[in-house]
């Protein structure tokens, strides 16, 4: 996308068509919906939907991943598609101003709430505080008036890596596989989980656009993951599945003759990983873990990381010894 395109004060129909086709493709929707999405985007664009993006026990990796959008570019999403009212890494405001931007947006209500990072419950939430408030309280406040909640990454979905630490870190709804009911008091609103470590930028953008178009969450599984992205198993669709069936496994990374074989004996968790990394890939579809030669650690799963460790040891019962 050239600068002049980016710099237009307003996205035009061509840009919306691009975003719509990304969404249709990403979500596995019918092409027939394309015009409807374009129309919805044209309607929301003049009054861009407000977004609050919170970060708790995260690493900013999901923000980094979001910024990797090229078509449509992250900048055009930030400046033309949504109104990003609060995001600690991207916003110009500091300190008191930032805090006020958050409070004002919450008061006005009806925003998309994006949560990055886990929520630590131990010691009354003291393991993460911002402006003197605990992250647990900030999430509760922000969730009350939100229209929809999107949890980006493994951490805010299920607790991710921090769940294995000493801080009783949980996702918004789940502690691993279990519902924890900590935020039951904030009302019924769609909660969408987009796990993996970090979040996949295309899954995130398509989910936001879907919500803006249809005003509801896409069809989801029991873990609140959109079926379009998390409905199929890595192992059933893996390009190395033939190697698995032929019992040709990588046992020693040093051996060049073993490159391209099935990674199960190196701990591959593909047999429990529901995702479409095998098809969607990462970073403008340039590569993904197994294709790069490294076992899948099932970062899309609620079991990650507590139950999937050790990552590179074959100790799940997948029928291979």
């Amino acid at each position: 996308m050239d600068l002049a395109t980016l710099a237009r004060p307003q996205l035009n129909r061509r840009d919306f068509v691009k975003i719509a086709s990304l969404t249709v493709a990403a979500m596995g929707l019918s092409q027939a919906l394309n015009p409807r999405i374009v129309e919805a985007l044209e309607q929301v664009a003049p009054a861009k939907p407000p977004v609050i993006w919170l970060e708790g026990q995260g690493c900013t990796g999901c923000t980094e991943s979001f910024l990797n959008n090229l078509e449509p570019s992250a900048v055009s999403i930030l400046l033309d598609t949504i109104s990003l009212r609060y995001h600690e890494t991207a916003m110009a405001a500091s300190g008191h101003q930032a805090d006020k931007a958050l409070t004002d947006t919450i008061k006005a209500g009806g925003y998309v709430l994006v949560i990055e990072g886990a929520i630590p419950l131990a010691q009354n939430g003291k393991f993460c505080t911002i402006a003197g408030k605990t992250f647990v309280d900030i999430v509760r406040e922000s969730a009350k008036n939100a229209a929809v909640i999107i949890n980006v990454g493994a951490c805010s979905s299920f607790g991710g890596i921090p769940r294995s630490g000493p801080t009783d870190a949980v996702g918004y709804l789940f502690r691993g596989k279990e519902l924890h009911h900590v935020f039951d008091d904030v009302g019924n609103k769609p909660v969408i989980n987009l796990p993996t470590c970090p979040v996949h930028n295309e899954r995130l953008v398509a989910t936001i656009v879907y919500y803006l178009t249809f005003g509801k969450a896409p069809e989801m599984d029991n873990y609140h993951r959109p079926l379009a992205f998390y409905g199929k198993l890595q192992h059933d669709n893996c390009a190395r599945r033939g190697q698995f069936e032929a019992r040709r496994f990588v046992t020693d990374f040093k051996d060049p003759a073993q490159q391209g074989r099935c990674l199960i004996l190196k701990g591959c968790k593909g047999p429990i990983a529901f995702q479409d990394c095998w098809e969607r890939q990462w970073n403008q579809r340039s590569n993904y873990c197994i294709q790069a030669g490294v076992p899948c650690v099932a970062c899309s799963q609620p079991e990650f990381y507590q139950e999937t460790s050790p990552l590179y040891a074959h100790d799940y019962d997948f029928g291979v010894k």
Binding site: A90, P166, K254
Partner: protein, 536 residues
């Protein structure tokens, strides 16, 4: 006396709270506090050592790769593994490649808004269609009354650049930088599997098996990055740093007390084992070293002649007097090989989740300026000769100079990888079984500074894991002797003429490029103890 609190300190990675005391328009005291912890060192206990590079790379989504590398090096030291050439090169290319985007994203996206009066764009009078487009866009946002995320913001001050042409150009580069970042991550992904967060750096090297086509595509994308650095990033930093911002440089705004530490990084040839590293990393693109400035801060001038001592890794300790941790009875400072991470959230006098790292009992500034001084970058020597001093501007300059060396050097590594790949499959791994009992450490100079991982293995499992990370060095609190950490030092003396608008506080801290998630190993224990007179 006015006390000013900036929390959250935005446009950084992680959660940081800065508190300063202002007397007659000048900062006279400062406190830096990390306010989030995950206890990664604790969760690694009793795990399979192979997990460590993956888990520690998730310490930070901004400088993920260096953690994976430092962790893998610590384990390779413990396992006694030597890297293959392909393994070393793939790690170098990956690490160098993300250094590149990391530095210009820091300059344009995280820092520039502290120096530019973005609203000056409305007065752009030129005829460049791209820049007119930017003008239309910003004016369009203003007209519609929705200028987030550019507002609210601190008000421009005497040091702010407000020439419409310069501001508009830099904002157009802000937009371009984000696009280049996405492309750079795609480029790296040919050897990392997903980006950010590499999954291929492991104990023994790099498990990736890129094809020749992928390496050629990587090479093309690398050249595109080089072009951006050569024609946009470096010229912008030089123009602004020696132009409108030179007064800030001459005043040494944001200088620390003058002790600098850098570790070696990017091994050029031969074994990349820790043994080489402890000899000063002579075969590294950037060598490590220690600079102890004599005299008052901000008074260094002849940096070509300064004395650089080799790093002695046994001299590193961490203290927890002002941190929410306990140490065993009788210890105040511990070497990381015997370090302890045990939370105490109710500790009196503590105000941060950072520990206080020290080298020979002294706090050290780490990061680009330390790297520039230790390696005596010629352009930095010239900058000092012309009257530039340590501090905010020097840090931005060093970042650009580092990026330039890296983009220039990287192409040789890529070409060698292509040569190796043309001859046969790349073997980046030299794996070995986990030893029963062993100890090791690994160091690397992360974009934000000196990074070290220390590991102890017992019965094939991790017994103890300790990380002394760049932002702990820079952002750590007072130690047992009451000596302040570098962020705290750097704020003292800085002008804050308007306590409602403490723009210098954020400029100074952001010039370090804080990356907090990895450094904080909590809470606001100070609240209640300190009366906040003016919460800005």
């Amino acid at each position: 006396m006015t006390r000013v609190v900036v929390d959250p300190l935005t446009r950084i990675e992680g959660h940081l709270r800065i508190e300063v005391e202002v007397n007659n328009g000048v900062i006279t005291d400062a406190w830096s506090a990390g306010t989030m912890a995950r206890g990664i060192e604790i969760l690694l206990k009793n795990r399979d050592p192979w997990d460590a590079p993956y888990v520690t790379s998730r310490l930070c989504g901004v400088c993920e790769g260096v953690h994976a590398i430092a962790s893998a090096q610590a384990l390779e030291d413990a396992f006694d593994i030597e890297l293959t050439e392909a393994g070393r090169l793939m790690r170098n290319v990956f690490c160098a490649g993300y250094y590149v985007h990391d530095h210009y994203v820091h300059f344009y996206v995280l820092s520039a808004l502290d120096y530019l009066d973005i609203m000056a764009i409305a007065n752009y009078k030129g005829s460049d269609p791209g820049l007119l487009g930017i003008k239309d866009k910003i004016v369009g946002l203003v007209v519609k009354g929705d200028t987030s995320p550019f507002t609210p913001r601190y008000e421009p001050d005497a040091f702010t650049v407000n020439d419409p042409e310069t501001v508009t150009t830099l904002v157009s580069h802000y937009i371009k930088a984000i696009e280049m970042k996405a492309k750079s991550q795609k480029m790296l992904n040919f050897i990392t599997g997903i980006q950010p967060h590499p999954n291929t750096v492991m104990v023994g090297g790099c498990v990736a098996t890129p094809s020749r086509e992928q390496l050629l595509a990587l090479r093309d994308l690398w050249l595109e990055q080089k072009e951006f650095v050569d024609n946009v990033y470096l010229p912008d930093v030089l123009a602004v740093g020696t132009g409108p911002l030179f007064p800030l440089a001459k005043l040494a705004i944001g200088a620390t007390d003058g002790n600098y530490l850098a570790y070696p990084m990017l091994p050029q040839d031969g074994a990349a084992k820790t043994e080489d590293i402890s000899f000063g990393g002579s075969n590294h693109l950037f060598k490590g070293g220690v600079v102890n400035a004599s005299g008052a801060r901000g008074t260094l001038s002849d940096i070509a002649g300064i004395n650089v001592a080799p790093v002695d890794y046994s001299k590193i300790t961490e203290s927890v007097t002002s941190s929410w941790y306990n140490y065993p009875q009788g210890s105040t400072a511990l070497h990381p090989s015997v370090g302890v991470t045990e939370f105490n959230l109710n500790k009196t006098g503590a105000y941060s989740y950072f520990k206080s790292p020290r080298y020979s009992s002294k706090p050290m500034e780490v990061g680009p300026l330390a790297r520039g001084l230790v390696n005596k970058f010629p352009a930095l020597v010239d900058f000092f000769k012309a009257g530039g001093r340590e501090g905010v501007v020097a840090r931005h300059l060093c970042r650009a100079l580092i990026t330039k060396s890296i983009v220039d050097q990287g192409i040789a590594w890529i070409d060698r990888l292509i040569e190796l790949r043309t001859a046969g499959p790349l073997v980046g791994m030299n794996e070995k079984a986990v030893p029963r009992n062993a100890k090791g450490f690994g160091v690397w100079d992360a974009p934000r500074g000196a990074l070290g991982h220390w590991v102890e293995i017992e019965n094939h499992r991790i017994k103890n894991y300790q990380m002394v990370v760049p932002s702990t060095w820079n952002a750590g609190p007072r130690d047992e002797n009451g000596v302040k950490g570098p962020y705290e030092q750097s704020l003292i003396g800085a002008p804050v003429p308007d306590t409602e608008n403490p723009i210098n506080v954020v400029r100074i801290i952001r010039s370090f490029d804080p990356c907090i998630a990895c450094g904080v190993h909590v809470i606001d224990g100070r609240t209640g103890k300190v009366k906040v007179i003016n919460l800005q």
